[in-house]
Subunit: 536 residues, 2 copies
Amino acid sequence: MSLKIALAQINFLVGNITANIDNIIASAIHARDRLHADIVVFPELTITGYPSEDLLFRADFITAANNAIYQLADQVTDIAMVVGFPESDGDNLYNSAVVLHQGVILACYRKQALPNYGVFDEQRYFTAGNQPCVFEFNGTFIGLTICEDVWKSGIIDANKQAGAEILLTLNASPFSAGKIHQREAIVCQQVKAAKIPLVYVNQVGGQDELIFDGASFVTDSHGDIVFRAEEFKEQISVVEFEGNNPVLNNCAPLYKEISSDYQALVLGIKDYVRKNGFQGALLGLSGGIDSALVLALAVDALGHDKVEAVLMPSRYTQDMSNVDAVKQADAMGVKYHYIPIAPAVNAFTDMLAEVFTGTNKDTTEENIQARCRGVILMALSNKQGKLLLTTGNKSEMSVGYATLYGDMAGGFAPIKDVPKLLVYQLALYRNSLSEVIPERVITRPPSAELAPDQIDADSLPPYDVLDPILERYVELDQSAEEIIAAGFRREDVSIAINLVDKNEYKRRQSPPGIRITSRAFGRDRRYPITSGYKGI
Amino acid sequence: MSLKIALAQINFLVGNITANIDNIIASAIHARDRLHADIVVFPELTITGYPSEDLLFRADFITAANNAIYQLADQVTDIAMVVGFPESDGDNLYNSAVVLHQGVILACYRKQALPNYGVFDEQRYFTAGNQPCVFEFNGTFIGLTICEDVWKSGIIDANKQAGAEILLTLNASPFSAGKIHQREAIVCQQVKAAKIPLVYVNQVGGQDELIFDGASFVTDSHGDIVFRAEEFKEQISVVEFEGNNPVLNNCAPLYKEISSDYQALVLGIKDYVRKNGFQGALLGLSGGIDSALVLALAVDALGHDKVEAVLMPSRYTQDMSNVDAVKQADAMGVKYHYIPIAPAVNAFTDMLAEVFTGTNKDTTEENIQARCRGVILMALSNKQGKLLLTTGNKSEMSVGYATLYGDMAGGFAPIKDVPKLLVYQLALYRNSLSEVIPERVITRPPSAELAPDQIDADSLPPYDVLDPILERYVELDQSAEEIIAAGFRREDVSIAINLVDKNEYKRRQSPPGIRITSRAFGRDRRYPITSGYKGI
């Protein structure tokens, strides 16, 4: 006996229940009429999108989400729809999945494993379920699980023991570099141990700082993947089961990590702009590597006609910076503005002259330049309804090598979680597709150009030393002594850690940006600003 | 038989284990030698401060905190010290309290009720304990509980059943308006039901957005409060028990709510400046009510010699604004700078003239003015190492009536959680102590003064309509229909809710500020920026 299960890897909008229902209906009809599926499986919390965060505390929102399930039940017949929603029983809220078929609810499962670490706050909202849910469909016994359930031991086994022959999993599993290998390895190992095939449906799309990468898949009972959907794209696919054996179908190959990172960033920009209704994006283009990469990403995400660059040289800007910025803007077909900042900088210098009498020049004067650029960029953003992209990278965010309200001004920070060394790799990767970033931008020493002959290496350890220290301290929570024991110089470790410790206040005010590492700043790393902790 | 229990209501610094141990030792010696106490009880997570947030994921930090307990055990003899710490058993972390006496650990309790709502993320870090802990001391059986434990039914009873005659509670219970009544009512009710006296020790001090208000207390077994420590102040007190009856001692009277709110704000500013090592504070003083209140708070927190005001008039600034600003600065003995913003505004206008050709004036031009002020204030802050205080109130933060990187620029936002109507009440309250805010500042219609003859009421419903709508929508999660049903006009509700919904991106980049309501923006209200939810 044959069963066709469709995987609806769809991009939902958090909070828009009406649009999400329309999307579910259209996808279910497509799965039924075009793919001849018997069942269509959607991602976790389909109705509301994921994560809805504190919208889940709103009674009107929860009521609408629960009503939506009943409305949906008889909207599409002749296919079973497996849909996630925040289920209220009046007292508690559950992260649930229902099976809707011919106008009735065939089964309802409450997620048992509620992640409350990293970017996840599910125990803030949900009560955990405490039992498996296996339903019969056309003679086959099918178990329901949700995301974290299949990362934990025990829950898959319990489904098997409850009679499940096939397991369905609804997911909202966010991307980070290399995560897909970990995800597939862990799930396949569990499946293999329990000897049960599994259909894993992940959502796709950008939601604030998170990217959901799709890459839904189906394993057989040996834990071998027999089908994989595309990464980073919406796709509705179908897999046929003969008994409980999925028929080998079509495995989209996995992208190389650098390509995945790039596509994650492109999708993140695209969805932030689209879902928030911006007319396009703009950014300051300095002739440096960071803004060069952000421009390339933005154009790849939005198209060259939706992106504007702004060149804002100061007296410290080298000619080659302007030349290279123009070269890239031209290469990418992007409109650019040229607005030297001297008049504003001079005005502030004069206005502050009296108050600053007798003081020495310091970073204050550097910050004024960066903030003048911030004012210009925000004025252009306000006037045109275009999103201002900031161009700071993770290394800078870590050590506070950026100006609040200056180069940190903007609505979205695409490479905020991209360490500087990876910025270079991504630039080289992009150029390998077509050369858009001038070579000199990649090869010249990085500089903020806020003081004469300034280069980053004057203030910071070289990035090939700094980045691995930061990864160990920020992402892996290693202590200074562990990092030094791994072969780094105490002075370098000391500089890096001290700067990370004391710049939490800057990060707290930075715009959201795309998470691509195992720990991003933002809700993924919640540090006090007021803190007596000294990492070294 | 008599037992003297000291309540150490102390202000700790999150993350600074060494300083906190010194503080514990000094307090214990004081309690022993000056107050002749047999036992001294400290607040929740004494060793690390509360909340340490993701510092709790650092193995070095946890190791140091656990070692600290052993170091501490024999540092002070002849008094039992009840100290909170993050206890690691190698696998899991617990929010624990130990009793240290004569160099040994007499007892160790693991918190059972872990709050994971509002500002609390305890399930992110801790595993819950599952049993009461009662220890014998000088013939008396004493139970240990931690904070949330005594808000939940069952845990106090379990202590009683396990033989406890007196209950000790270590707390980090944050302030919000009226919370003290709720706290005392709930705890006393539980105590009364279980017929057991309770010693409640709360920490005091500001920690980023949270204020801990102290007001530690002791109840007898009838649930009557026989002792209460001061609100908002460090205090080490002692209460004598005859058997299990606490002797009526000294109940500090509760402040009126308006006074508590004011003191909470003063403490918040004082601790943020002090704990983060700033030289003082500065702010833009506009002649409006918000900056007038913030100036008064800052001077009351830091002293007049640590605060500077900056007057930055534009062509739209009325004379009375400057006059009143100077009048208040003089009244409070505060140094002020006078820096008109026209030169910078004109510079930007010229620089943008070409790009803006053919466009109409809109909020872009208003924002440029606000951002010029931001640049000046940040330059003064950077040059002098003084904290820039922003002056926006909760009503503005709610509806986005503020300029990112303009009047929102700054390190700390003291009245960010104070609705506009309460701003007026606090100003009147402060003037009732001594008149420092010119009367006209309080009586004139509020205006941003960014356009000719502009007043807030042009863009927003009047504050006596807006504020209650915002409270219902933001703090109470009421739906638009509920708010309208309560008697508000649909247009007003619509304007307010739409603005709240679409301004999450601004709030995400605002500086931290002091939480005084039952729900502040920040970690207390976690909303997606990208959202299709429409409240109306």
